[in-house]
């Protein structure tokens, strides 16, 4: 169930239009869960369909355990896929859906069903086997789809936004279930999602795609704290961008001088400092910045309710900052605060030309 998957300059274009997938290269280690993250139209589903063999790439290679799978039909690739819609076969019972892969592989019916029962138990649906698929709720349907895919013992399990049609509570349950399944079966998983939080919860590493190009392939934490470009920072929901110049490893801007984190060096020249708004601490003005933090005096310019949190916008001279505080904290527009920015949370990226 755990194969290595490698994409080598995978490119896909439709009818001569701009490439939907543009020279994407990455490796997924055995047992790893990779999330392909991107806005709609970024080509993430095209990557998945190419891996599955449902579409053939325009150029580039797909290697499973080092073997090129070009020209191998989907049914021979050993990849199972769970789609956004469960697509359970309506003419089969729940159990026979899960037993489908074994049945079409020629396993005797009793044996196939026994095996399917174990996978139903794995997705916590013991005893649901004899039901028709129409008697299931949305969450249960997706669990059965997951069990059916796993029962096929895929070399790589492909998930195409499988939980995006479920309500938040069910999604959380499914994320937990997927975590448990990964622990028990250690499958190699490639999951497509447009949800940053889902990618962060489920995946070990994330490949961030935009307009078919791979912007960054990294751990979730590094995508947030060390984005490779301004695009990445923005797609990951970063709200702080402070233009300045790096000289002798120090970024100078209206925020003052901020040194590169220990062990890192920043390239010289014009650059944009990015830092997660979640990392910015707000204190009352006289409080000095603790060790390892840069302190600036800022003025609250806007406050937006975000349920239990409040998003705060701040002005520091000509620069703007953002921060998040508990909704109960009484910060008002025009109030002066001390903003503390941890050095370790800072990084610089090249400014967008023009």
């Amino acid at each position: 169930m755990s194969a290595t998957l490698r994409l080598d300059a995978l490119t896909k274009s439709f009818d001569g239009r701009a490439n939907a997938v543009d020279a994407v290269s990455l490796t997924v280690e055995p047992g790893e869960c990779l999330a392909i993250l991107g806005p709609s139209g970024s080509g993430k589903s095209s990557v998945l369909r190419a891996i599955a063999g449902l579409d053939s790439p325009t150029s580039g290679r797909i290697l499973v355990d080092g073997t090129d799978v070009a020209g191998v039909a989907p049914e021979r690739r050993g990849m199972a896929m769970v789609f956004q819609r469960p697509l359970l076969f309506p003419h089969l019972s729940v159990l026979d859906n899960v037993a489908f892969a074994a049945t079409v592989a020629g396993t005797p019916r009793g044996e196939a069903r026994e095996d399917a029962r174990q996978f139903l138990a794995l997705v916590q649906l013991e005893g649901f086997g004899s039901r028709p698929v129409t008697a299931l709720s949305g969450g249960q349907e997706q669990r059965v789809a997951l069990a059916r895919a796993l029962a096929a013992r895929p070399r790589v399990l492909l998930l195409d936004e499988p939980f995006s049609a479920l309500d938040p509570e069910l999604r959380a349950d499914m994320h937990e279930l997927l975590g448990q399944l990964r622990e028990r079966l250690k499958p190699t998983v490639v999951m497509v999602t447009h949800d940053r939080d889902e990618a962060a919860i489920v995946a070990d590493r994330v490949a961030l795609l935009r307009t078919g190009r791979l912007l960054q392939h990294d751990t979730v934490e590094r995508l947030y704290t060390r984005p490779a470009s301004l695009d990445v920072a923005r797609l990951m929901g970063g709200r702080i961008e402070v233009a300045g110049v790096v000289r002798e490893g120090v970024h100078r801007s209206p925020l003052g001088s901020i040194e590169a984190p220990a062990g890192e060096s920043w390239p010289e020249g014009e650059s944009v400092l990015v830092v997660r708004h979640e990392a910015v601490h707000l204190a009352s003005p006289p409080v000095p910045a603790p060790q390892g933090m840069t302190g600036v005096t800022a003025v609250v310019t806007a406050r937006h309710a975000r349920g239990p949190r409040a998003a705060i916008e701040l002005a520091v001279g000509s620069a703007t900052l953002a921060a998040e505080v508990p909704a109960s904290r009484p910060l008002t527009i025009g109030q002066e605060v001390a903003a503390h920015i941890p050095r370790s949370a800072c990084t610089v990226v090249t400014p967008v030309p023009g």
Binding site: A52, L54, A73, P74, E75, R76, G78, M79, A80, M81, F83, R85, L87, F89, P90, H91, L92, S93, F100, A101, T103, V104, A105, P132, T134, R148, A149, A152, L158
Partner: protein, 305 residues
């Protein structure tokens, strides 16, 4: 019709008003839906029920053209041998036509749903076939395939050596004509059902390791089954009761049920009218039995919900 429709709509509005005023909504909704379908049901009942009822009464000797009315089964027994032979022949023609239409139509539907250019061609041909009347189809088959037809002439085969396709003992031309037209019907009905759902299920099944043949057997055909059964019922009942094709392309004897019924009905012997009604009643009973069997088969498919 239009006036009764307007009245039905009026009833619905009244029903909705009453619903708003707090009258049991379920009861009034039921009445309003009955009122809405009533005009269509009444007309259908008048034509179908009246027709069958009249035939039944006439076949039992209660409505003779001449003579005294008396309850008897004479009309059913008068042409006993012809009736039995007719039943056998009609069942055989209908079964062969239905089976061939379903096989060819299902295959065509699969080609159509593949979405390639051949699929569009087949869909176009099927759509073109539907509006051509059976009578025109039968005449064309006769002109093409009889021993003096166009095809033996083009091929330069003398009529004496040409097989008895038209008017032969195997009723091949009749079955061919039905199959030609009804397979187009099956193709379009089944393709319509498959088009909306089969592609995603097919992909899912492929990713679960099912080969093309396995997908056909385990996914596509089961998904198409209800539509095929419904089409089969319609085709069987139609071919069992259809007159003109069998009359044009068949042989004079033995006669299929509708040909027998029509001959007796137009017979100069006035006493033959109840006999014609008896044949019609038998045809109707067989049709109803086939519909019942078909519906039972349909109810057994898990998709029929």
């Amino acid at each position: 019709m239009a006036r009764s429709g307007a009245r039905a709509v009026g009833t619905t509005i009244t029903a909705l008003d009453r619903q708003a005023a707090g009258v049991s909504p379920r009861g009034s909704r039921r009445w309003s839906s009955i009122a809405l379908v009533a005009p269509a049901v009444l007309i259908a009942l008048f034509v179908v029920g009246g027709g069958i009822g009249f035939s039944l009464v006439q076949s039992l000797g209660l409505l003779p053209l001449v003579g005294e009315a008396s309850l008897s089964l004479d009309a059913y027994l008068a042409n006993g041998d012809d009736l039995v032979r007719g039943i056998g022949l009609s069942l055989a023609i209908a079964t062969a036509s239905t089976a061939l239409s379903c096989i060819i139509g299902l295959t065509a539907a699969l080609v159509i749903t593949q979405g390639r250019s051949t699929g569009r061609l087949v869909a176009g041909l099927s759509a073109f076939t539907i509006p051509i009347p059976h009578l025109v189809g039968a005449a064309s088959v006769g002109l093409l395939l009889s021993d003096a037809g166009i095809i033996p002439r083009i091929l330069g085969i003398p009529g004496t050596e040409w097989p008895d396709i038209v008017g032969g003992s195997w009723w091949i031309a009749v079955v061919l004509e039905y199959t030609w037209k009804e397979s187009a019907f099956v193709a379009l009905v089944v393709a319509g059902v498959l088009a909306s759902r089969v592609a995603r299920y097919d992909e899912t099944a492929a990713l679960l390791g099912a080969s093309r043949a396995r997908r056909l057997r385990h996914v596509v055909i089961p998904l198409a089954r209800p539509a095929v059964i419904v089409s089969a019922i319609i085709i069987f009942v139609y071919t069992l009761g259809s007159y003109e094709v069998a009359w044009l392309l068949g042989r004079p004897y033995p006669e299929p049920l509708p040909v027998l019924a029509f001959r007796l009905f137009t017979s100069i012997t006035l006493t033959a009218r109840p006999e014609a009604a008896a044949v019609a009643v038998v045809t109707t009973l067989i049709s109803l039995a086939v519909v019942a069997l078909g519906m039972a088969a349909l109810r057994r498919t898990p998709l029929w919900k």
